[in-house]
């Protein structure tokens, strides 16, 4: 059959309806209050879990309902319209990062102890890679795990860890060797109350409800049973999952952009200047239309990347380079786009664009994380250039 295979089937439409209802009832009405408090109740994880929204991409064996990555995409899109992106980030770090790593690379015992309760929302997870001296440059991490009998002793620190200040467990990337090459990083599950682990919540200008943390490890003892995958396999795991993380960020950014544009148009219809609603001015009409085109274009690219991910999950042979290239392109295109649309939304609000009582400024602040987190724009350009046979000096 010729033509584009549809991403979403009928069951995804009812899933979307359910996700929309959940977000409308359990998240959106509280967004302003949570943002004001720079916090959200931890019970939200359990609510999301018992409603089944952590389960779409996991197998039934571990309490999931999938794997169905198109359904997961639907959840991300709807969650991102809940007006509190810090909250969405915490939920995402738990499910798209920590839990997914355990699903992909953990053993059955680890899955029983951490993955199942994570899908249920009874345990909260985080993933810790970035350090003050190493962000996009994963090879540069210095947190070190030393083997000591049946245990590992971890020393070092992590920063900008979403969910990191309050999670029940953290999947930590630590250096286990100084050999050249990429086989020197290993992942460990560290429980939040392990002696020697200190955690602070960071004060950020964006994602303010998120529990973004700084973690300090001082001779933190972890049993060998909490090692995820083989010794030295961490770098490969990280690289494999970066693609999924970036795709999820792309879906979220498109949704944020759609929300910002909607908000901007609503305001432009209501607000009058020079005797007419500002939406009646052609420059604003064209600016809105232009943004709509870019959002739709970014969405088409993101969906194309999603198709590739689903094909890979289904076992179709897709050249890895093609997947990486499209995903990096989607991330690069959509993160800047979301911020740009949010910026125009602030602009149309005029002075009100700077007022805390309007969510415009919050979307704008939250969108600014996109071109930095999950691999910066410049890293995406490096990756894309690499797939084109272009080097980087």
């Amino acid at each position: 059959m010729s033509g584009l295979e549809p991403l979403f089937r009928e069951e995804h439409e009812s899933y979307r309806e359910a996700a929309r209802t959940f977000v409308a009832n359990e998240i959106a009405p509280h967004a302003e209050r949570w943002e004001e408090a720079r916090d959200f109740p931890r019970e939200l994880f359990a609510k999301v879990g018992s409603a089944g929204f952590f389960g779409a991409k996991f197998a039934e064996e571990w309490g999931g309902t999938g794997p169905d990555y198109a359904a997961e995409a639907v959840w991300i899109e709807e969650l991102s319209k809940g007006l509190t992106h810090g909250t969405a980030s915490d939920l995402g770090a738990h499910s798209q990062l920590a839990a997914l790593y355990l699903d992909r690379f953990g053993n059955d015992d680890q899955k029983e102890r951490y993955l199942r309760p994570s899908i249920e929302g009874r345990l909260v997870g985080a993933l810790a890679v970035t350090e003050s001296g190493a962000g996009s440059d994963v090879d540069g991490i210095r947190t070190r795990a030393r083997r000591d009998g049946d245990e590992w002793a971890i020393d070092g620190s992590k920063v900008f860890i979403t969910n990191g200040s309050w999670s029940d467990y953290v999947v930590v990337a630590a250096r286990t060797s100084d050999d050249p090459g990429h086989a020197n990083i290993t992942l460990f599950i560290v429980e939040g109350d392990t002696p020697g682990l200190e955690r602070n919540r960071m004060r950020m200008i964006a994602w303010q409800t998120s529990h973004t943390g700084e973690l300090f490890f001082d001779d933190v003892r972890v049993p060998d049973g909490n090692r995820v995958g083989k010794v030295g396999s961490g770098f490969g795991h990280l690289m494999a999952n970066f693609q999924w993380e970036r795709l999820m960020m792309s879906l979220g950014a498109v949704a944020l952009a759609e929300l910002s544009l909607e908000m901007a148009i609503t305001y432009a219809r209501e607000r009058s200047a020079f005797g007419r609603p500002i939406v009646r001015f052609q420059v604003w009409q064209h600016r809105f239309a232009d943004l709509a085109v870019r959002i739709r274009t970014g969405k088409a690219l993101t969906y194309q990347a999603l198709r590739h991910h689903i094909a890979v999950e289904e076992g179709t042979a897709v050249p890895r380079e093609q997947l990486v290239r499209l995903t990096s392109m989607a991330k690069l295109y959509t993160q800047r786009l979301a911020w740009r649309v949010a910026d125009e939304c602030v602009q149309v609000h005029g002075g009100a664009g700077a007022l805390k009582e309007y969510p415009a400024q919050r979307l704008w602040r939250d969108a600014r994380v996109g071109p930095i987190g999950g691999g910066t724009d410049d890293i995406m350009r490096n990756v894309i250039a690499g797939t084109m046979g272009l080097g980087a000096v």
Partner: protein, 384 residues
């Protein structure tokens, strides 16, 4: 999950079109541009090979394929030249589809079938010296006189205009009715062999020089009654229908052109050395090309989504306007970055890059300017 919209049959077709394009078109492009002309034989050969009616039903003389077959054709032609893609697309996506959609069996036999064989060349006549995007303001007028229509007026920027055997034309046949600014317009198939038809001027352009873009003039031209295409006074609606296929067609070959220009820039960046290394190894150059590749992939995804809707019979006005706008901007941006990458070599007359840079500028104007697409979208969004 199937990742390509094309089937194996489409892949075979692509190879056939590519062979023709690479052997019979590409080697002559520099000369044709230089001469400001190309042989009519291009149409005949394309017709012989079955490329002019790929998505037309067999009953109308076409190949009976789906829209993806036409996409293959436009992509392969657009890859080598926007100008030749434009003249062929005028034939396949502009002048002829209205005959199939609105024409009588007799009109299909008389005009469409020979056009799909490449024996008759068509043009589309909308723009006039004083009105372009504002179609409702056209002044070329046909007045009924017994069994005939008497046609007076002129049409401007008509691609294939100097060589066309027929022009699918929008003409005023009545006055504007109150409350309906789009009323009083009808469509005709104008036989350019009839007395009173004149090519006033072949226009000299900055780009797409091989194509004969003309100012044509109709002076008391007497058209037989069966020249009327479709329903009298329904012409505005009919031409709006035509414009969707036209805009999608130019979007398809436009994005293919942008992709080809980018590939050429990437190739050059890997070969050309400066300061002791290929310029593509400088991070600044590699990032700029990575940005362009991202834009190409994004717009390609949008265009293919639009083609998919079109192929399934969805009249996707919104997505068509988006695709047209996005492609026009994309190709200009990519071509300009390509010129920059080539440096002085990008400005040499007759080179692929300089030629396409010149030709692509037309993409943001022809078929409804960027501003018109934005206005259409604003209206669809409920804000215009």
């Amino acid at each position: 999950m199937n990742l390509s919209p094309f089937t194996e049959e489409h892949d075979l077709l692509r190879k056939a079109v590519a062979d023709w394009v690479d052997t019979e078109i590409a080697p002559n492009l520099a000369e044709w541009e230089e001469q400001g002309d190309f042989p009519d034989d291009v149409f005949r050969r394309a017709g012989e090979l079955g490329f002019l009616g790929l998505a037309f039903p067999e009953s109308a003389g076409g190949q009976g394929g789906d829209y993806w077959a036409q996409v293959v054709f436009l992509e392969e032609v657009g890859r080598v030249s926007q100008a030749i893609a434009m003249v062929l697309s005028v034939q396949t996506d502009m002048a002829t589809p209205p005959i199939l959609e609105f024409g009588t069996d007799a009109q299909v036999d008389r005009w469409l079938k020979p056009a799909l064989r490449g024996e008759l060349i068509g043009a589309i006549g909308i723009t006039e010296p004083d009105t372009g995007s504002d179609v409702a303001s056209i002044r070329t007028r046909a007045v009924r006189d017994g069994d005939e229509w008497v046609l007076n007026g002129s049409k401007m920027y008509i691609t294939n205009g100097a060589r066309a055997h027929f022009v699918t034309m929008v003409v005023r046949t009545g006055d504007v009715e109150e409350g309906n600014p789009w009323s009083g317009i009808s469509m005709f198939i104008v036989d350019t062999g009839l007395p009173g038809f004149e090519v006033s001027q072949r226009l000299e352009k900055s780009g797409m020089k091989l194509s004969d873009t003309a100012l044509i003039y109709m002076d008391d031209m007497r058209l037989p009654a069966d020249s009327l295409l479709g329903v009298e006074r329904e012409g505005f609606k009919q031409i709006m229908w035509e414009l969707q296929g036209e805009r999608l067609g130019v979007s398809v070959f436009g994005v293919a052109g942008a992709r080809a220009v980018l590939a050429e820039a990437v190739r050059y960046a890997r070969e050309r050395e400066a300061f002791g290394r290929p310029i593509g190894e400088f991070q600044a150059v590699s990032h700029r090309l990575a940005e362009m590749a991202t834009e190409v992939e994004a717009v390609q995804a949008l265009v293919h989504e639009c083609c998919d809707l079109w192929n399934r019979g969805v009249y996707a006005t919104e997505l068509v306007a988006m695709a047209k706008l996005a492609v026009g901007r994309l190709s200009n941006e990519v071509a300009d970055e390509a010129v920059q990458t080539f440096g002085g070599a990008g400005l040499v007359e007759g080179s692929f890059i300089s030629r396409e840079w010149l030709g692509m500028r037309i993409g943001r104007i022809g078929g409804g300017s960027d501003e018109v697409q934005l206005q259409i979208l604003a209206r669809i969004m409920g804000i215009g």
